[in-house]
Amino acid sequence: MCSHSALLAAAAFMLVAGATGAAEFEKFGRPATPEEIASWDIGIGPDGSGLPPGSGTARQGEAVYVAKCLGCHGEKGKGAVALPLAGGNGTIGKPNQLKTIGSFWPYATTIFDYVYTAMPYPETKSLTHDETYAVTAYLLQINGIIAETDVMNAQTLPKVKMPNRDNFIPYVRE
């Protein structure tokens, strides 16, 4: 059904390709250099892949949190105009369910990934790597998962075991 116009387009390209002697007509992607990729390749895997150099502690992160997060997420992540980030332990699947980083999130690496990519709300992707590690540490600490002085970096963050981790299961289609 769609193939008619595709074939016409392909035929047109073949003519051009034939004139230039190119064997394949349908390649228009421009090679991306490592320098170009670096600024966009910000995703962090659960094994810590993609975590940049840098570090931070909860103590350092509290200052960043107070300056850039507290306005929406409330004191110590208890929630305000934006979602609560702490509390709700043991409520998942129950009528009083409260999904927070501490009660729900399965991977600590996701905190870094999300904070760096999507926060703080008025200007996302604006935190430095050190600030992001520090805020991540603070969010883990207010949830009782790490201590105030624990250093979060590319080596330590993937090793943090989230309390609800084992309750996540992949869907298997029958």
């Binding site: 116009s5 387009a9 421009r30 991306a32 966009w40 934006a82 980083i101």
Partner: protein, 431 residues
Amino acid sequence: MGRKRTQDDLEFVAGNGLLHRRMFLTGGATLAAAMTGYALRDTAFAEPLPVEPWMKIPTADGFAPYGQPSKYESKVVRGEMARAPNQMPGIGNQRSPIHLLNGTVTPNGLHFVRLHSGVPDIDPDRHKLLIHGLVERPLIFTAETLMRYPMESRLYFIECAGNGNPLYAKEPLQAGVQRIQGQISCADWTGVRVSTLVEEAGIKPGAKWVLAEGADAAGMSRSVPLSKIMDDALIALYQNGERLRPENGYPMRLLLPGYQGNTNVKYLRRIKLVEGPMMTRDETSRYSMTRADGKTVQFFLQFDAKSVITQPAPELKLQGAGFYKITGLAWTGRGNGRISKVEVSADGGRSWAEAMIQSQILAKAVVRFQMPWRWDGRPAILQSRATDETGYVQWTRDAMIAERGSTGNFHSNAITSWGVNEKGEINHVFA
């Protein structure tokens, strides 16, 4: 042939007045016979037909640069922007007025909208799509370069993962079909096969998943299996013949036919081939299904078969006993994505009869069904039930709650029930 059809010819096929779908084919005489009070009003039509003003007065209207619907259709609009408590201004959704539409294609201005940080103002000449990760040659594409590739045009539905989530509630939400099920839309999507671009980049061994990321401020990102990308995924550039609407992903979006809405990443800026899921926030803590046993199910990506009656619906009151046409939408993401049958019940699921499918049945597109019904003026419960070519039958709300509990929130594909009372008012009920 030749004999005058009467109400005695009506072929009832299920409880509470459902009529055989064949009625739509045998013509107007039977339909007319089904309508009560039709003959009594003959005397009211003794006057000559009026010659209306618009039949006489020419106008200079009708030459707008971009046409708009008739002013008489001003109620056919998306719902109010809705957002949950604790969410920022750009995070929310708008639903499609499915009770006022017919056919299968959702007009672009009425497609449902779900945004995670508002619409970004993207300059199409500066937008780039990067394909990298486990590839031989990382590549950058612009919209302009994508235009040179062979394209594919398909009608595909997109549904929000949370559409219909009021069916998980303890009590039936008293709202219309637009509010309850209006996050389903279907459009003619045109774009380039993602497989074409990924093959140009060259797949390295070990690549099993891809991360798709948007250029919006939220960097909306999801991991999906590479097999899906290579099967039928598109980089969509056109929606119903025109470039994508900003709220639906301009200048380009990922289109994963039959997959939950948010995986069709809008404002697509990056596809990274990876070994396994990246466990982004949206696939861990957001679009995952939490069960009563405390377990949370991830990567429930493909939609099961579903249908909903869009007319009658709570927004539309019945005007007295008599003949009505029941109509609605059905769709599935399973298997080849084709609906095989839609059944309708007027007695809360005690008896069912097959509806007529009035549209084409296309893979992973909505189909439109219709069913003749003679309402006797007594309470009734209207339901529809879809079956797809894999044999999957749309389940009841009771079955869905029994399996998933009340915290599932997503992929609510259970049967929706409309309760009709003696006044012709329609309410959302659990039945």
